[in-house]
């Protein structure tokens, strides 16, 4: 059965990249426990529009935890309290009547704020563009079964390929490092035979692009792994370092 709650929100409001931001308090009554966290923001925004205020902007799209568009720091934790769950998949049944939630955008030098809870994560795309691919033109592929891949090898690479590019790892890291994101792509592709011919160039180019974008370095806090909605292991960072070292030494 669904219960109705009152939820208090303390939300970061910022008009634009150059503006000074501040926290503003709101209250939403009649919150249904089956509601998703983003639906709570929808209800808040309808309330604000009717009152003549500007709604809180936030990125969202699939609301199924797979597109990686959403991302809010809830009470100091990227994507909120539920492990392995993107903010869109967090439901209000985990909260109680009268709770106060503090909402902030991803905060990192490499992620300028666009408005309210919306951050510019295009730096992540530039890291992928630096080498996060296999160079194979359409039409030149051999038969799909011509290269066998053991189930274990495949599943291992898949665990890293599952990254949704949301940037929570950056938001959670005290150094605002993108090492888990970058490492996951390097580990995915170097973990499969198709990705190995370019592994050296890829590792060097992606790591250097990450540094150029203003992300910090990894100092093994492990916060990234803890907040990752896809549970990507910090082993990705070890693989990234190994791939980078091997490429540089060779």
């Amino acid at each position: 059965m669904s219960d109705s709650m009152t939820i208090h929100l303390r939300v970061w409001r910022q008009a634009g990249p150059e503006s000074k931001g501040k926290f503003v308090n709101y209250t939403v009554a009649d919150v249904n426990s089956h509601m998703s966290f983003l639906e709570l923001l929808d209800v808040l925004n309808e309330q604000l529009i009717h009152a003549g205020d500007d709604p809180v902007e936030f990125d969202h799209d699939c609301r199924e935890g797979i597109c990686g568009a959403c991302g809010v720091v809830i009470d100091g934790v990227a994507h909120g309290p539920q492990q392995r769950t993107a903010a869109c998949q967090l439901h209000m049944r985990h909260y109680q009547d009268g709770d106060m939630l503090v909402l902030e955008p991803w905060r990192a030098t490499a992620f300028p704020i666009i408005r309210d809870l919306v951050a510019d994560r295009s730096a992540l795309d530039r890291i992928v563009a630096a080498g996060g691919y296999v160079s194979v033109d359409t039409g030149s592929a051999p038969d799909a079964n011509s290269i066998l891949i053991s189930k274990n090898e495949l599943e291992g690479a898949f665990d890293f390929a599952a990254c949704i590019g949301c940037g929570a790892c950056v938001a959670a890291c005290p150094n605002a490092s993108a090492s888990l994101f970058t490492g996951a792509k390097i580990a995915h592709l170097s973990g499969l035979p198709q990705g190995r011919p370019e592994r050296k160039e890829r590792a060097v180019a992606m790591v250097e692009q990450m540094q150029k974008e203003g992300f910090g370095d990894c100092s093994n806090h492990g916060e990234c792994e803890a907040v990752c909605p896809k549970g990507i292991s910090i082993a990705a960072i070890a693989i990234m370092r190994r791939e980078y070292m091997k490429a540089k030494l060779a």
């Binding site: 983003l38 309808e46 797979i66 439901h91 994560r121 992928v128 495949l154 499969l192 198709q194």
Partner: protein, 639 residues
């Protein structure tokens, strides 16, 4: 009725048409390709694969997406898989059989030549994706694994856990990134296409709005590729992402592109049921679950016992009962309609009684929890997150939801719309799925169009068309930009009392009630009236906060809802025109004695392509007759 449309299907036997076409087309010299610019709108499977491939060939590509990154298009949410006729399992699959199943699954309302080409290309797609590093599921011996999907009796579906769409899209996205890094693709993120620019009858550019700064921009090219997905969000609640919309396609329609079969929408049988009014979207549970899950409702009306307390002989496994040969794997339209009937009879389950059970108990007993978890683990987790219930312990509750739209802009064999130079790919076109799409066919079509069809057909267009010199100061650009700006200003000036979401929800209710799983002439006529009244009210009373010069989601959505309010009416008119039941379009007046859809091949074996004739003018329908030279039209039977 106006004159019939010709699809420009090449001559020859069905199996040879695509080769004949490729043998005869004009080619663009490699050195000349770089002199041509192509606009690609949308970065899903169709747009991403097209942009990457055209850039590899040497064209200059300008790519646009409304999301903050090309990696987020809604193709990413496709769970189940992608079909191909590889026949790796040696269970009797062939290109012909994939073609035949797709034509039959579409209830004989698609074009033979397109569907056959799709089946022919299917195998190359798998090869390409594996080479990109897409981690398709494998057997212990290292070979690729397959599973079966609705509407087929062979295992031809390749899958990557429950996130096939994500992995395929990341493959296409990474191929795009490779071209972005060399400057061959210029990527424009957070841009919404607001209009098509037509010069001397040819599509030559687009008008976009930068969603961050609000700046209106002009972009010119030699051709425009629309890869903007489907229009399921006209129902407000659907499995589509919140940003999925019809605006780009609709504005091309207003500029002269015909819109084909808008009434052909797919209601997916296995979605998580609605829980309340605040509901913002619906979540699909992959059809692959029907491989191992059994669908049932209590035999007794109003049985409110918990599912575990209802003994087997008091359960009605209605799909297995009514369709013994396909059982739980009947096509989507059939499964959805039967769920609706069960609930209409008062045998629905759960709090709202608008749900049926999808039960894994028997499979877990037979295969073990580990095997089920390996196959569907992430789906079970997702279900539990949303509902708070553990599907390993209690059956899932599911209900149909709007999922995919088979209709879309009309295209010929070359994927060209009725506006020369405007090509439409993927879900945005109407071409390959007829009145009903089979599972695992959408990913196949999106990638076929982008990787393997458009590189040929676009080349032929560019090589055989002489365009006039023009730049973005041309009157057509000025006019289109002015119109786009005026529309935004008008929306912002209304400052009424109802929000964009409230209007969207109202429209959705009209559509679901009258243009949903089961339609009648009376309901459709009611819908036409209600939508037109709602549209008038919207333009007088919508309240949009903020300005056009900053990030403003409500303003974006207002433009999209305005277009949905026009499309919804066209869908109702199309459904009203089609006096038959076919696939996802079920008219209650046209059914057999035992409640199955009754097609009318005599009068309706055609594509209905609608021409826009002006604001508040009745649209005009054109027909493309479907010639079935290779398959015999039969009544679909899954019994």
């Amino acid at each position: 009725m106006a004159h019939p449309l010709s699809a420009n299907v090449p001559d020859g036997r069905l199996q040879e048409k695509w080769d004949n076409y490729k043998n005869q087309i004009k080619l663009v010299n490699p050195a000349n390709k770089r002199k041509h610019t192509v606009i690609v709108v949308g970065t899903g499977l169709a747009g991403g694969s097209a942009a990457a491939t055209l850039a590899e060939l040497g064209y200059r590509v300008n790519s646009f997406c409304i999301q903050d990154s090309p990696r987020r298009a809604h193709s990413i949410a496709a769970q189940g898989g992608i079909n191909a006729a590889k026949n790796y399992p040696n269970d009797g699959d062939t290109v012909w059989r994939l073609f035949y199943d797709t034509i039959k699954g579409g209830d004989y309302r698609s074009r033979e030549a397109n569907v056959h080409r799709l089946a022919q290309i299917s195998n190359e797609i798998i090869d390409q994706c594996v080479a990109q590093g897409v981690p398709f599921a494998r057997e212990y011996g290292g070979h690729l694994d397959n599973r079966s999907f609705g509407g087929a009796q062979v295992s031809r579906t390749f899958y990557a856990r429950g996130q096939t769409g994500q992995q395929l899209l990341l493959g296409a996205y990474q191929a795009m990134c490779r071209q972005i890094s060399t400057g061959q693709i210029i990527m424009f993120e957070r841009r919404e296409m607001l209009d098509l620019v037509v010069i001397d009858g040819y599509a030559r550019g687009i008008i976009t709005r930068d969603l961050v700064t609000g700046k209106i921009e002009r972009h010119i090219a030699d051709a425009v590729l629309l890869c903007t997905g489907g229009y399921g969000n006209v129902y407000y609640l659907s499995t589509n992402a919140k940003n999925s919309n019809v605006t780009a396609a609709w504005r091309c329609h207003r500029k002269g592109a015909y819109f084909a079969n808008p009434a052909f929408t797919q209601i997916h049988p296995t979605c998580i049921p609605v829980s309340g009014d605040y509901q913002s979207k619906l979540t699909l549970m992959s059809e692959s679950l029907r491989n191992d899950g059994r669908v049932w409702v209590p035999k007794k009306v109003g049985d409110s016992r918990l599912p575990q307390d209802i003994p087997d002989d008091e359960r009605d496994y209605y799909l297995e009962r009514r369709y013994p040969s396909f059982g739980n794997l009947v096509p989507r339209d059939v499964a959805s309609r039967n769920a609706k009937y069960a609930c209409d009879e008062g045998r629905g389950v759960g709090e709202t009684k608008l749900a049926v059970y999808l039960d894994f108990r028997e499979s877990i007993d037979r295969l073990g929890k580990n095997k089920i978890s390996e196959r569907y683990g992430n789906l079970f987790e997702m279900y539990e997150r949303i509902t708070g219930e553990n599907p390993y312990e209690v059956p899932m509750r599911i209900y149909p939801a709007v999922h995919y739209t088979m209709g879309g802009l009309w295209v010929d064999y070359e994927l060209q719309s009725t506006i020369p130079g405007l090509f439409v790919l993927g879900e945005a076109n109407f071409s390959d799925h007829g009145a009903n799409r089979l599972g695992a066919s959408a990913l196949m079509q999106g990638l076929a169009d982008g990787y393997f069809v458009i590189p040929y057909t676009l080349g032929n267009y560019i090589a055989s068309t002489k365009l006039t010199d023009a730049d973005t100061s041309h009157a057509a650009f000025v006019e289109a930009e002015t119109a786009a700006t005026e529309k935004l200003d008008r929306l912002l000036s209304i400052q009424g009392t109802k929000t964009v979401t409230e209007y969207h929800r109202d429209l959705g209710r009209i559509m679901w009630d009258n243009v949903g799983m089961s339609r009648t002439a009376e309901g459709l006529e009611t819908a036409v009236g209600l939508i037109s009244t709602l549209r008038e009210e919207f333009w007088e009373n919508v309240r949009i906060p903020g300005e056009k010069t900053h990030y403003n989601k409500n303003l974006e959505f207002a433009g999209r809802v305005a277009d949905f309010l026009e499309l919804g009416e066209l869908m109702a008119r199309d459904a009203l025109m089609r006096n038959e039941s076919a696939g996802g379009h079920f008219r209650e007046e046209y059914q057999t004695e035992d409640g199955e859809a009754q097609r009318n091949d005599e009068d309706f074996a055609f594509v209905g392509a609608w021409e826009y004739t002006g604001q508040n003018q009745d649209p005009k329908v054109h027909q493309e007759y479907l010639d079935f030279e290779n398959v015999q039209l039969t009544t679909r039977s899954y019994k």
